[in-house]
């Protein structure tokens, strides 16, 4: 008798314990695949890069001695690294600011009843789905010194030709234009999606009060889609800190050597390109890993600053 009764009482108890376990553990099991993958392809490489950066690690050599923080000391003393950091920030600002403003304006223009709306929206996204290589090759030809369309127009207007690759400012502008071409439409679509969620009544009221379209954009739309603006600013900042394909291919138009160095004077070598030059042209993986880690920290800092600035902006708009 004792045994069945015991079993009967233990049965439900075990089931409820299992049930509780299920409730507590299952959610973790469901999200585990992502975190396992992230650990394998995210955390581990990050930690391993740090480990590699403490060695004199050449891709081709078989022994890689531990050298402590020497790579970092050398990196901080390397003028070309800071040059790359400056170029990255400069190209980032030159591309991100006009790009986001333009995207906002485009989205504002499209945020009204229009014929062939879908067509417009797809057109916005087209540059973004184009291969970056194709975009850079075409734009590099447009910016070509001898046969480029832009120089032909400038010449015709009497401004004279510009050797776009040669100068710091000119090369930065050229690269920023390529980035803007690819990403303006994408950001415009994100803004547009956010704008659609803004109640129409507010605009109607504002129109009745005689507010102009631009005034509405500034005083209604912008404050209402603030979280989206913060999102795009952060994503764009991160993206522009990692620019590599554009300067690499742009430099390849000058010479083989100038591709990885970002021009003859490294005038448009970005951080990611610097990392590529050290890692994959010179095979100095230890040094490149140190550069990768410092670059990572720089991205965190710049994104943090941007976040604070954009959040500040909210206060101004609310007032």
């Amino acid at each position: 008798m004792a045994t069945p009764r015991g079993a009967a009482t233990r049965g439900p108890g075990r089931r409820s314990r299992l049930h509780r376990l299920d409730l507590r553990v299952s959610p973790y099991a469901y999200v585990a695949p992502f975190f396992l993958l992230f650990a394998a392809f995210g955390i581990f490489p990050l930690v391993y890069t740090a480990w590699v950066s403490l060695h004199d690690w050449n891709l081709l050599s078989s022994d890689n001695p531990f050298i402590g923080l020497d790579n970092y000391t050398a990196l901080f003393a390397d003028g070309y690294f800071w040059n790359a950091a400056f170029n990255t920030l400069s190209i980032g600002v030159l591309s991100a600011v006009p790009q986001l403003l333009l995207a906002l304006l485009l989205a504002h223009l499209l945020n009204r009843p229009l014929r062939a709306q879908t067509l417009f929206r797809i057109t916005l996204l087209l540059p973004n789905v184009t291969s970056v290589v194709a975009v850079v090759v075409i734009f590099s030809q447009l910016f070509g010194r001898d046969f480029g369309l832009i120089n032909m127009v400038l010449d015709w207007l009497g401004f004279g030709r510009i050797n776009w690759q040669a100068g710091v400012a000119t090369s930065h502008v050229a690269i920023a234009v390529m980035i803007m071409w690819r990403w303006t439409g994408y950001n415009a679509l994100i803004y547009l999606a956010a704008m659609q969620a803004v109640p129409k009544e507010i605009y109607e009221a504002a129109t009745l009060d005689g507010a102009s379209s631009l005034k509405q954009l500034w005083s209604i739309t912008l404050p209402m889609i603030r979280p989206t603006v913060i999102f795009t600013v952060i994503v764009t900042t991160i993206g522009s800190m990692q620019i590599i394909a554009e300067p690499l291919l742009f430099g390849a138009q000058v010479s083989n050597g100038a591709a990885a160095t970002g021009g003859t004077d490294r005038q448009f070598q970005t951080l990611a390109l610097y990392l590529y030059e050290k890692g994959f042209r010179s095979f100095e993986f230890g040094y490149a890993s140190a550069a990768a880690w410092v670059m990572f920290l720089l991205v965190v800092v710049v994104v943090g600053v941007n976040y604070l600035v954009v959040r500040r902006m909210r206060g101004g708009l609310d007032a």
Binding site: F38, F41, G42, P45, L46, Y48, T49, V52, W57, L59, L60, S61, S62, V137, S140, Q141, G144, R145, D146, F147, N163, Q165, A166, I234, V235, I238, M241, Q242, A252, Q253, V254, S255, N256, G257, A258, A259, A260, T261, T264, D265, A272, G279, F280, R281, S282, F283, F285, A288, S289, A292, M295, F296, V299, V300, V303, G304, N306, Y307
Partner: protein
Amino acid sequence: MGTPHSGRRIVRFVAPMLAASLLTLTACGGGGSGGTAGGGQSTEKIKLSVGLFGDFGFKPLYEEFKKTHPNIEIEERQAAYADHHTNLAAHLATGAGAADVEAIEVGYISQFTSQPDRFYDLRQYGLGKRQSEYLDWKWQQGLAPNGALIGLGTDVGGLAMCYRTDLFEKAGLPSKREEVSALWPTWEQYIETGKKFAAHAPKGAKFFDSPGEIFRAIIAQAPVGVYDAQDNIVVATNPDVKKAWDLSMQMIDAELSAKIGAFTPEWNTGFAKGSFATVICPAWMTAYIQDQAKNAAGKWDIATVPGGAGNSGGSHLTVPKQSKHPKEAAELIDFLTSAQNQAAVFKAIGNFPSIPSLYDQPDIQNFTKDFFNGAPVGKIYSDAAKNLKPQHLGPREGDVRTAIGNGIGRVEQGKQTPDEAWAQVLKDVEAIK
């Protein structure tokens, strides 16, 4: 929100690189098994891959090879010059992905031969016997410091000067190749000729493409280049390097350059458009020009290069340790580099043999090319190759030359004076260990 995002993104960039270095640990696992069991004919189906940069003219030869090796399937992969060598380094480091036969250009060869444990020593497959056939310096370049035979030479790049007969005529210069060669025994005379050309040049035509290529040629003619025999970088102390630099500066000063970097899209266009009247022309370049300037057939011709003989380019074929069929790969290399097949490649695409016994054979000596106005390319490049003096190339050859090339570029773009640029070159080279 910023931090995890940026973290994941940067990781996405760094991850492949790390995956690469990670696998290094497991790289030395395989290897060492030597040839497959039992010599002689095997009937086992084997697939050999061949990794090249650009076209080596091997495709017809594979068919020949299959006649004696019916069980072997050959797959050729081509990549661009820099990518090919970067990929090869990554594949060697990760222990996977390399082809059974990998080509290595002379600018990189010393970097790879310094890692003999990553390649098969081809002597163990009996290729050591080929030594007597080769130009001695070409053979030496394929050896590791420990004496292992890493690679067998394919071609050498004896220098010549290609020029446009039509542009020379329009500028009132002689256009016959003997007369043109007589114009410029030295580089100084080349510059003088350039000035005469510029005085009457047709619109849009400059004397040469860019001083960077000429600098490489002048360096190639010196007994010692940017490295001495002990692998020390001697850019700062070797008077021949400074002389080549100064000559390049004179050429920029005389405004003879079209300012078009080699192997860029504008350079390719320039061949067809006649943007420059002369271009440094190692043997392998003839196929390239022919390809780029199809509409200019008969307008290009070939003269001797100023300043004497020199070598630019040329390759070796190697078998990475990760190959599963080293014996067959070695047989294929032996076949592709045989005297007969090097001659065939030369006639097909222009890469010039590294086997000197071929140079005096009538079928090479009398070989001409219609595209180059019937120029006797066989004789021109035989003479160039016979007079070659070997030059030692160091492990970071490419980095050093990039630093100098960028310096020349800065002067040409008007960003720096020659002295400023040279000072920066020395500083950059100093940083290359």
